[in-house]
Point group: none
Chain length 196, copies 4
C-alpha cells in the first residue's frame, strides 16, 4: 500500500470513526450525513465517494464494530485465567469500541440488513460458536457447567447479560452488584448450598 492508498484509507477510517462515535451517542436516525461530515472534517460528498449511501456507511460501521468485538472476545477466551474469571470478563467487559453502543444501532441493523448477507450471523456461527463450545467444554470438565444444559440456553444467558449491561443507564446501577450477579449466573437465585 503506497502513501496515496494509505492516506485514502486513513480518511476512510476517519469517517468511520466519526460515524461510529456519533451513532453510538445519538443513535442512527438522529445522526445526519452532514453531522458526520463535520465531525470527520470532510465534505458531505467525500463521504459519498467512499460509501455508496448512508445504508452502506452504517453497514461498514457495523462490520467494523463486530470485528473488534470478536477479537476482544477471542483474546479473553484464550487468555490464561480461570473459567469463572473468563465468563466474568466476557460478561462485564465493555468493548472500547462500543462503550455505550446505542441499542437502536443493533436493532436498525437487525431489521434493515437481515436480508443482505447477515454478516453478523455468519461471524457468529463460524467464529463465535466454536470458541464458546471450547470454552464450555473447559467449564464442564472443571465442574462449573451443568452438562444437562444445552449450549444454546447458556449462550442465551450470556448474550442477555452482555447486552443488558451494555445499556448505559443499567451499567451504572449494577456495578456494585457485579459479584452477586456473577453468583446468580453460576448458582441461580436459589443460591449455592454451603454444605456442598
Amino acid at each position: 500500500m503506497d502513501g496515496f492508498q494509505r492516506r485514502k484509507e486513513q480518511k476512510k477510517r476517519n469517517i468511520l470513526d466519526a460515524a461510529t462515535a456519533l451513532f453510538m451517542t445519538y443513535g442512527i436516525q438522529k445522526v445526519s450525513i452532514s453531522e458526520i461530515a463535520k465531525e470527520a472534517n470532510v465534505s458531505q460528498v467525500t463521504i459519498y465517494n467512499y460509501f455508496e449511501n448512508k445504508h452502506t456507511l452504517i453497514h461498514e460501521v457495523f462490520i467494523y464494530y463486530v470485528d473488534k468485538a470478536l477479537s476482544d472476545f477471542e483474546q479473553v477466551v484464550h487468555s490464561d485465567i480461570s473459567f469463572p474469571e473468563k465468563l466474568k470478563q466476557i460478561i462485564f467487559t465493555k468493548r472500547e469500541v462500543a462503550q455505550q453502543i446505542h441499542e437502536e444501532f443493533y436493532h436498525y441493523l437487525m431489521k434493515e440488513y437481515s436480508k443482505e448477507g447477515n454478516y453478523i450471523d455468519k461471524i457468529y456461527e463460524e467464529k463465535t460458536i466454536p470458541i464458546f463450545t471450547k470454552l464450555f467444554q473447559e467449564g464442564m470438565e472443571q465442574g462449573y457447567v451443568d452438562p444437562t444444559l444445552s449450549q444454546e440456553a447458556i449462550l442465551f444467558y450470556i448474550q442477555m447479560l452482555k447486552d443488558y449491561i451494555q445499556k448505559e443507564e443499567i451499567y451504572k446501577k449494577i456495578l456494585p452488584l457485579t459479584e452477586e450477579i456473577t453468583s446468580i449466573f453460576f448458582y441461580g437465585i436459589v443460591g449455592k448450598k454451603e454444605n456442598e
Copy 2:
C-alpha cells in the same frame, strides 16, 4: 359519560392503538404522524386535536403501555399459583399491549422525558417494588430464594430477562428453551444438585 364523550374516547383510543402498533413495529422516529393518521383512518390534524404534538402522543402511548403492564403484573403475583410458576409467568408472559415493544420506545422516553415527572420511575417505586418485595418474601419462606442475595440483584435479573425476551427476534429463538432458562434462573449454570 354520554355518547359524545364515549365516541371521542373511542377515537382517541383508535389513534393510541394505531400509534402503539406502529411504534412497536417500526420504532418511534420512523413512524410519521401521517402514517399514524392513515392507520387510524383519521386526518393528520385530528391527531393534533387529541394530542398536542408528537411528543405528547408518544408520552400517552407510553403511559397506556406502562399501566397495562403493571396491571398484568399485579394479577400474576396475586394469583393462586406456585412461586416458581409466578416467576415464570412474570418473565415469559408477554403483555398483549406490547407484544413486541421496540426498545427504541423505551430509550426515547427515558431520554426525552426523564425531566418531566418520570412517570415510570414513580410507578416502579410506588407500586412495583412493594409487590416484588412481597413476592420474594414468599419465595424465601418457601426456600426458593437465597436469603443472602439482595433484592436489587434479583430484580436486576428479572428485569433483564423480561426486557431481553421482549425483543422480537430473541423471543422466537428462546421459546423452546423456556424450561432451561427458568432452571438457570433458579439454579444457575452450575445446575441443581440432584442429591438435594
Copy 3:
C-alpha cells in the same frame, strides 16, 4: 328588538370586542379564529354563524372602529374649547377603542378591502371632510391658519401626526414633547417670531 334579538346582538358584540382587542394587540394575521373564539367564550363555528368568514369579521371590526373614531372626532370639534386646543386634542387624543391600534390593521384593510366599497373613504369624504372644513374656517377667521394653504395639505399634516402618534413606541417617547410638537405644527421649525 326583543330579548332574543338583544341577546344575539350581545353575542355578536362580544365577538367583535374580542376580535378588536386581539387584532389591536397582535395584528391581524397573528390572530387565529380559534383564539378569537376562546377570548369571546364561544365556539369557532359560532363566529361563522355571525360572520361569513375571517374577511368579513375583519371588515366589521373595522367599521366598528371607524365609526367610534368618527364620533370621538365630532365631539371634539363641536366642543366649546379654543381652536388650538381642538387641534391638540384631535392630534393627541387616543381613541379608547384603538388605544394601540396595530398598523397592520390599517394596512391590511387598505390593501384587502379597497375593492369592496371602501367604507372608510366614503365616511371620510361624506362626514370627516365637511367637519374639517368647518374647523379650518374657524381657524382662519381667528388667524391660526394661513389662508394660502390648501385644506388638503393641512389635512395631510393632521392625519400624519395622528397616525404617527398612534404608534405605541412613539407615543411614549414624545409625550414630553407635546408642547413643542404643537408649536412646530403651528409655527414650523423656523419658529414663531417673537416681535409679532
Copy 4:
C-alpha cells in the same frame, strides 16, 4: 474574492433582493419561503443554505435596507445644496431599496428583534444622530431653525414625515403637495409672515 465567492455572493443578493421586494409589497408574514424561492429562481432549501431560517433572512434583509438608507442619507447631508433643499430631499427622497417598504416590516423587526442587539438603534445613535446634529447647526446658523426647539422635537418631526411618506398610498396623494408640506414644515400652518 474568487469566482466562487463572487457567484455565491451574487446568489445571496438575488435571494435578498427577491425577499426584500416581496416583503415590501406584501408584508412579512404573507410572504412564504417558497414564494421567495420561486421569485429568486432557487429551491427553498437553497435559501436555507444561505440563511438559517426565516427569522435570519428577515434580519439580513433589514440590515441591507438600513445600511442603504443610511448611505443615501449621508450623501444628501454632505452634498452641496442649500439647507432647505437638503431637508426636502431627506424627507421626500424615497430610497430605491425601499420604494414602498411595508410598515409591518418595521414593526415586525422592532418587536421580534428588539432583544438581539438592536442594530437599528445602534446605527441611529452612532451614525444618524451626529449627522443630524451637524445639519441642524448649519440650519440654525442660517436662521432656518428656531434655536429654542429641542433637537429631539425636530427629529421627531422629520422622522414622522419620512415614515409617513413611505406609505405607498400616501406618497401618491401628496406628491402634488410637496411644496406646501415643506412650507408647513418650515413655517407651520400659521404660515410665513410676508413682512419678514
